[in-house]
């Protein structure tokens, strides 16, 4: 079992995400994270799926995803083949702010992106291991809420969407 990033380049068609996820659910495979957004070409969307499976399985998943009529192209990469980031937000009560927290924010390169009378929101962008490390620390600071995005990633391989839609 290994962690893979699957990229799906797809038409913006209602229900497409459903069709993609069915391929995972029918095999009982859990999606670790998923993000979807418009690509740099209007009308074409890009879905990034993180999944932990063996290579035979990821190949079959990608082939079956690509078989979906409105999917233009799907491919997979190991972690070494992609540059990726995740974003995490941490909500901390103002009452817990002290000098110790300031040090932690500096050490982790986190940012305070909002300050309200009762709480502040910290942001950290990085790999899951990094956001997880900060999460464990902030649990000691009365963490009120935590949210982490799925992976956004670009491939190291030099391929463009245009080469798939011509």
């Amino acid at each position: 079992m290994k962690r893979y990033t699957i990229f799906v380049i797809t038409e913006n068609f209602i229900g497409i995400l459903n069709r993609i996820t069915i391929i995972f659910t029918r095999r009982g495979i859990n999606i670790d994270a998923l993000t979807a957004s418009e690509s740099r070409i209007p009308g074409i969307h890009r879905v990034t799926i993180e999944v932990t499976v063996n290579e035979d399985t990821v190949i079959q998943l990608v082939n079956q995803i690509e078989k979906i009529i409105d999917v233009i192209k799907a491919f997979y990469h190991e972690d070494e083949g992609v540059v990726y980031q995740e974003i995490a937000l941490y909500k901390i009560p103002v009452s817990k702010l002290d000098g110790g927290l300031e040090k932690i924010i500096r050490q982790h390169n986190a940012k305070i992106i909002a300050a309200e009378p009762d709480f502040v929101v910290l942001e950290l962008t990085g790999h899951k291991e990094q956001t997880q490390e900060l999460l464990e620390i902030l649990k000691g600071y009365g963490l009120l809420e935590f949210a982490r995005s799925g992976r956004v990633a670009v491939a190291k391989r030099m391929l463009t969407i245009e080469s798939f839609i011509k």
Binding site: G15, D56, N63
Partner: protein, 564 residues
């Protein structure tokens, strides 16, 4: 309003006509009523057949599509009408049958409100369709239908569902039909890689015991002639899957039989003795392979397949040629040497004799009193036309009919393969017959399956479709009973049936019917049935507890195929 503006419902019907559909199977209801109103005006251009249940409509469309090679069309209303199509969609999806199904839907402003007969049909049908779409605006109807037909029939065929809200059906829109010729996310033609053909040819040319398996892909790809030429030149023994039957005539000298759980003895056993295995248009279904860990491990596998997702799914291929087998087979035929494989072929023939002595002889010419399913099919062979279509349901009768029916032409095999849908045969036979009234369509069905869709006798009555229905009645759910006998200590849990008087039922539908219980009456009854001008219902009471052999039990290897 411009003169060229017509109702959405008219656009639906005109679009179907524009796609050269000549028959629609369907059932009306509230949300599809505008389309039915439109059908009234076009009855001289497209025929509508009212079935007795939506499941009957879709299976009929499947039967029609399978024998004709055209797209089957069916129409149903929203809610229960649409959900009744689901079994047929799943069946068509797994057996690659081209269908366009149109369902009515509540008006767009009611979507998501749990309105009367509202169901999320697009959601429900998603895993069972090649493509589906909901149309909420009149201007989107024609493009959706054009795209739907294109998707259903191109590439690896499959079912498409188009859900059309009632407002779109009653609104007026421009009639300007543009057939779909393709679009960027869907590539239907994959050029065959010549270097892979060379690699495959080299393997074949150096093989001592090459063996070819062919599936329905040959039929769907219209590659029957290419397959025949390949076999003529290569001298390679060839066996078929359930749905591949008929792609070449069983009289072909290279034909060695059928694969799978209840296929023939030699084709299964020798799978584990070949050195090169050439799979054409088949997907190594578990019913074909048995235990994958012990399947053809000694062989180098060449897989000719259109659908990339089928390659290396179950069996790893040494050379996988992705593309249309009509092209790849022709290229491969060019690249191989003319050869004969007499001693290897002899192995198949020897084992065939073993099977004949151990199984077939008993099935076809039994010595005991009770009638066997095998002898019924054997008698049908004596009188049937070469291009007669065999439609079967699911169970023992299906396997026996498949084993003994003498397939001579392509598109003569209609059965529910991948899904194993009981109740498939009767409506599918109706659909197959309505494609061509002059062709013999023989529907072999069991006493369990026929009762799942027996209401379609009404449609046969109304259309006068001259379907020949052969009910093999053992008063059991025979295949389940066989498994109970073999694997569950003969605990016959809920498999015995108290059946109605089937002949009376058929006669109540004005269908000529006969019941045979004695061997002496069988031959004449089958002859009478096949020459009868009109539908005929023949019930044959067969041995209650006969079993189908050979058999590869679940979890066993192909080489563990049993003769008893």
């Amino acid at each position: 309003m411009k003169d060229s503006m017509i109702r959405g419902a008219d656009i639906v019907v005109r679009s179907i006509i524009a796609e050269n559909a000549d028959i629609i199977f369907g059932y009306p209801g509230g949300a599809i009523m505008p389309v039915y109103d439109a059908l009234y005006d076009y009855h001289d251009q497209v025929r509508h057949v009212l079935t007795r249940h939506e499941q009957g409509a879709i299976h009929a469309a499947q039967g029609y599509a399978r024998v004709s090679g055209k797209v089957g069309v069916c129409i149903a209303t929203s809610g229960p009408g649409a959900t009744n199509l689901i079994t047929g969609l799943a069946d068509a999806q797994i057996d690659s049958t081209p269908l366009v199904c149109i369902t009515g839907q509540v008006a767009a402003h009611l979507l998501g409100t749990d309105a009367f007969q509202e169901t999320d049909v697009v959601g429900i049908s998603m895993p069972g369709t090649k493509w589906n779409i909901q149309v909420r605006r009149v201007e989107d109807i024609a493009p959706a239908i054009a795209k739907g037909f294109y998707i259903a029939r191109s590439g690896r065929p499959g079912p498409v569902l188009i859900d059309i809200t009632k407002n779109a059906q009653v609104d007026f829109g421009e009639w300007n039909y543009v057939p779909c010729m393709g679009f960027r996310s869907y590539k239907t033609h994959i050029p065959v890689d010549v270097s892979l053909i060379q690699q495959a040819a080299e393997l074949i040319n150096n093989a001592e015991r090459p063996y070819l398996l062919f599936g329905q892909g040959v039929v769907l790809g219209k590659a029957e002639t290419e397959l025949k030429f390949f076999l003529d030149k290569s001298g390679i023994p060839a066996a078929c899957t359930l749905l591949g039957s008929g792609a070449i005539s069983q009289d072909h000298p290279n034909y060695v039989g059928k694969l799978g759980m209840h296929g023939n003895y030699a084709p299964n056993l020798l799978t584990n003795q070949c050195d090169v295995l050439i799979a054409v248009g088949m997907r190594f279904d578990d019913r074909v392979t048995g235990d994958l860990k012990r399947y053809a491990k000694q062989a180098k596998v060449i897989h000719l397949e259109l659908d990339k997702a089928e390659v290396n799914k179950n069996v790893k291929a040494e050379v996988a040629v992705i593309g249309d087998c009509k092209e790849s087979l022709a290229m491969l035929t060019e690249a191989i040497h003319q050869k004969k494989h007499d001693s290897w072929m002899g192995k198949f023939r020897d084992l065939e004799q073993e099977e004949r002595a151990a199984v077939m002889q008993y099935d076809i010419t039994p010595t005991k009193v009770g009638l066997t399913m095998g002898e019924v099919i054997h008698q049908i062979n004596q009188y049937k036309a070469d291009d007669a279509v065999l439609v079967t349901d699911v169970g023992q009768h299906q396997m026996i009919a498949w084993r003994y029916f003498n397939y001579k032409k392509s598109r003569t095999q209609v059965t529910s393969g991948g899904l194993g849908t009981m109740g498939f045969a009767l409506p599918a036979a109706l659909g197959a017959q309505l494609h061509d009234y002059s062709r013999q369509v023989i529907c072999v069905v069991g006493d369990g399956g026929i009762q799942m869709t027996i209401q379609e006798l009404g449609t046969i009555m109304q259309t006068k479709a001259p379907v020949k229905i052969v009910l093999l009645n053992n008063n059991f759910l025979g295949m389940v009973r066989q498994w109970q006998q073999m694997f569950f200590d003969r605990r016959y849990s809920f498999t015995e049936l108290d059946n109605p008087d089937f002949v009376k039922i058929a006669e109540a539908y004005n269908i000529r019917a006969q019941k045979v219980t004695e061997r002496t009456d069988l031959k004449e009854a089958i002859e009478d049935m096949l020459i009868h001008d009109g539908p005929f219902f023949l019930e044959v009471v067969v041995e209650k507890e006969d079993n189908v052999f050979p058999m590869i039990a679940t979890g066993c290897s192909v080489e563990e195929v049993r003769l008893s």
